[in-house]
Subunit: 257 residues, 2 copies
Amino acid sequence: MIHVVLLGYGNVGKHFQTVFGSTHGVAVTQVWSPSQSPRTEGQTQFINDLKDLKNADLYIFAVKDDAIRKLSQDLGFENRLVAHTSGTVGMKAIDAKNRAAVFYPLQTFSEHAKLDFESIPICYEAEYEADRELLQDLGNRISNTVQYVSSEDRKKLHLAATWVNNFTNHIFDLAKSYLEENQLDFDLLKPLIKETVAKIQEIDPHDAQTGPAKRGDVNTIENHLGMMRDPHHKEIYTLLTESIQQSFKSENIGKKL
Amino acid sequence: MIHVVLLGYGNVGKHFQTVFGSTHGVAVTQVWSPSQSPRTEGQTQFINDLKDLKNADLYIFAVKDDAIRKLSQDLGFENRLVAHTSGTVGMKAIDAKNRAAVFYPLQTFSEHAKLDFESIPICYEAEYEADRELLQDLGNRISNTVQYVSSEDRKKLHLAATWVNNFTNHIFDLAKSYLEENQLDFDLLKPLIKETVAKIQEIDPHDAQTGPAKRGDVNTIENHLGMMRDPHHKEIYTLLTESIQQSFKSENIGKKL
């Protein structure tokens, strides 16, 4: 049995509690959160004072990035395994009095959405071999994709995650605003959005690229630019169009040489 | 029975042939394509000469945008219902000797992907009421979402579709290139991409926005910029980050006033 203590009870903390709670061989013995009133729910004791922390195999931080260092310093014990769950913070942010680790789920967490944890990649890191084995074992119990990833590589994954999540979502937001300004319904685009993502599960996004920029269809691009009023929208449209053109131009040059 | 003739046999033409062929009350009597050898398959006659076109209720063009006008001029008959399937071309591109219409499926078509046609919005347009009724009826037989959309609105939908399909896909391509340069696996991002899109089926993309730009997390943004070598990637990152910041800043100001 792996005894886990969760520190922090936001979206990430709650999702971990749910998945560990229904996983064979794992028990969440305590949840620490300053905002929770002390109580016991099933096997889990809720506490709001760090002094009440008991012995466990692993302490998982599910707190904001900039709270990690201070919280690790405030722990009243030494030489135990303490992991944070951030994509961007180095492992060494965990105070050296404990055995530092990372247990990073590469996913976006909402309060209400149910997540299929099995499909979420877990990127872990630890200073000591025995700790790595424990984290690999714990990861395997909840996910089909568990990888040892260095702090440096984890930061790169987080950057790429920002592109595919934050930027993609913002593009949806811009498209919705544009349609609403024109009394058109964003729902009409949802099947297209689904298919856009379904496609790249099968084929390389580069091969999946379509549209006026890839075709070099200057007429459509000019028509599109004429249909946007917001100079900011035009600027993003132009830059992304140029970027697509460049990505296929260099390929064509490469093929010619 | 609605008798349909398809002109053009690329991805769109083939998908229409497949869906109409399995739809009650619809028959594809002919397919015209210069690249196909004359033959008969089931109920459908393949021809490569426009002179062989027979009478039908509806002629659907599934050809490139810039071929629509000329093809409509080359038709050897008059006063029949002729629809193109383009998102960007005006209805009047169909030569006036026939009754012009549009039958635009708002989706991206690949050769191999099987499509759930029921979920694909059909945006139609026609000059005459009786033709609109026929197109609405035909649309209803294959799709759950069939809307009369003017040429002007259709062009706006196509522009928004370019954003959510072309630009989103290009962002996936950029993220994949970045990870490959760093010997990291793009597959690790696929569950995140799926969840990003699943989220906006339920909630507004504006409310779904997360990440350093929205939080105003300047440290992470600067770290990210330091981790990209390609000045072009940095430029897109910066512009989209500013755009997210702006979209939440104006909201905050709005709330204060």
